[in-house]
């Protein structure tokens, strides 16, 4: 099983009033373990829908996908939640940290849902915060952190359950270019350590820094961008 993600003819249609919006219209895609892939496309192309489907936040209208060998068709909401918890690490453009919880509490949250004991939660979270260079900011609330630091906390949180894929949606979009560069470098480092990284972006330059690129246009995989 060398492919961490496999999509077969995935469609996602929305009914909006009298219209059927084909957000994804037959995507077939395999991403090998340890790859570093950019999913690129203009806004409205369907790349966010694709990300939601890969992240198991959304389910396809037809077609199916396998995450780390597990087919998600017919999974209940509880099973999908379990899969998100174990296999997927999300990094969002807007960081999406829990505002009333400290950095370390944020990082520990996925472990809480995985049923990991308090002592181990703390140990792992500390280790990962140290890895992203925030050892001295662990007890701070998100509001006391800079944008780059917030995104590092989010990355530590995404990694804490040792997921099969790291799914980043425009992770540098809310950062200045210098900080964005540093975050991009962190992703590159993580990929070199063996992580499978999916990097959703509309920024061509950033996309080209990934090892491979997938272009989405009108809900289909396109040849070029």
């Amino acid at each position: 099983m060398n492919n961490v993600i496999e999509l077969y003819n995935v469609r996602r249609y929305y009914i909006v009033g009298d219209f059927c919006v084909k957000a994804l219209d037959g995507i077939t895609l395999s991403l090998p373990r340890g790859s570093f892939t950019a999913i690129m496309g203009p806004s409205g192309s369907g790349k966010s829908t694709l990300m939601n489907i890969i992240g198991c936040l959304d389910t396809p209208t037809s077609g199916f996908l396998r995450i780390d060998g597990e087919c998600t068709s017919n999974m209940s909401e509880d099973e999908l939640a379990f899969l998100r918890n174990k296999k997927v690490g999300f990094v969002f453009q807007q960081f999406n940290l829990l505002g009333k919880q400290t950095a370390i509490e944020n990082v520990m949250t996925p472990l809480l849902y995985a049923g990991v004991g308090a002592h181990e939660r703390k140990e792992k979270a500390e280790m990962l915060l140290e890895r992203v260079g925030l050892k001295d900011r662990m007890k701070h609330l998100p509001s006391e952190l800079s944008g780059g630091q917030k995104q590092r906390v989010a990355i530590a949180r995404a990694l804490v359950n040792d997921p099969a894929i790291l799914l980043a949606d425009e992770p540098t979009g809310a950062l200045d270019s210098k900080t964005g560069d540093q975050i991009m470098e962190l992703f590159q480092e993580l990929n070199e350590e063996g992580r499978t990284v999916i990097f959703v972006t509309h920024d061509r330059k950033l996309g080209m820094r990934c090892n491979s690129q997938v272009y989405i246009k009108d809900g289909r995989i396109a040849e070029g961008y």
Binding site: L57, F82, R84, Y113
Partner: protein, 393 residues
Amino acid sequence: MIFQNVKIALTSMVHNKLRTLLSLLGIIIGVAAVVAILNLGRSATDSITSSMNIGGIDLVTIYPQGNNRDGNVFDLQFGDTLMSNVSGIKTVLPIYTSNTRIRSGQDVKTVSVQGVTSTYFDVMNTELLYGDYFTALDNINHRQVVILGSDIAKELFPAGNAVGSYLSIFRNQSKRYLIVGVLEEKEATLGANFNSSIFIPINTFEQRFMNMSKVSSYICKVNDGANAIDVSKKVENYLNDLVGSDYFFVYSAASIVEMADQVTGTFTSFLAAIAAISLLVGGIGIMNIMLVSVAERTREIGIRKALGASPKVIRGQFLVEAITLTIIGGILGIGFGIFISYAIVNVVGWNLSFSYGAIILSLGFSMFVGIFFGWYPAAKASRLDPIEALSYE
């Protein structure tokens, strides 16, 4: 997980102190009302019963009434008959009572003269100020000895110890009685006013007050641990069969206590029903604040779902939050209710009888309100679509 949820709930309560307090007001007032009402109800019952001074809670008194055509069953031996027919009675004291003039020196007054057995004083728990009780021998020999109640002793012998002096009791003719004892002051129990009575041996009474047709009353002491109300019912049943209900009257302090209990009980449950309505209103307040909280934290719910929280976990989080809220409301309400109880009891002058049942009931009820009114908002949170929730501003 529950601990984390309680912590999250407490954090968000601290962040919205005023809002939390306002939404808890209904619960606080409801619980305070329940606690105060139940405490005060108990205190009222206790103070009513203690104001009646039920030294005689274990006593059942029978008063023969009228003249029974079938001959007089209420004689001195009736106690033995009663004890062999009704279980649960330890002793029966026959008592003759008559209002009679007495004289000491130049003082003449009318008092209640009681003819009693020598065991009477022990059963009634009286204490002696001076002298001694008369003995069984005094009784058998029809001796003319008397024991004074404290008020009478004070009036007739203001100088002090009356023991050894003589007292004249008029009945057809005046007879001199030796004073052998003076009782200490004792509050009147129902049916016996110790302080303004004098006591002579029952046989002496029978001999001297010849035209007494029947014993005035019988005081029955129930066995240790026996229920005076049950015994009084059995006595009533027995006497109903024996002489018919017109010819006796049974009285027990316990039945008065029971009546007081019933009255305050009815009153208490009526007020408690009103308090329950305010708890219901409080519950609706909780539901409202939880719905607001779920709406405000839509994005947080989306994040938690993305991080792997299942619908069950989200529902649990908001349920625990609702329960935490209502339990804190309950604790505040209990504190407030106890405070009100103390304040009112102090003003009215009762003793506070603390009702622990009320506290457990209130806490249980708060928790129930939390679960009941928190369920819908929590279920709503658990059903949120993660994508929509994540894009919620």
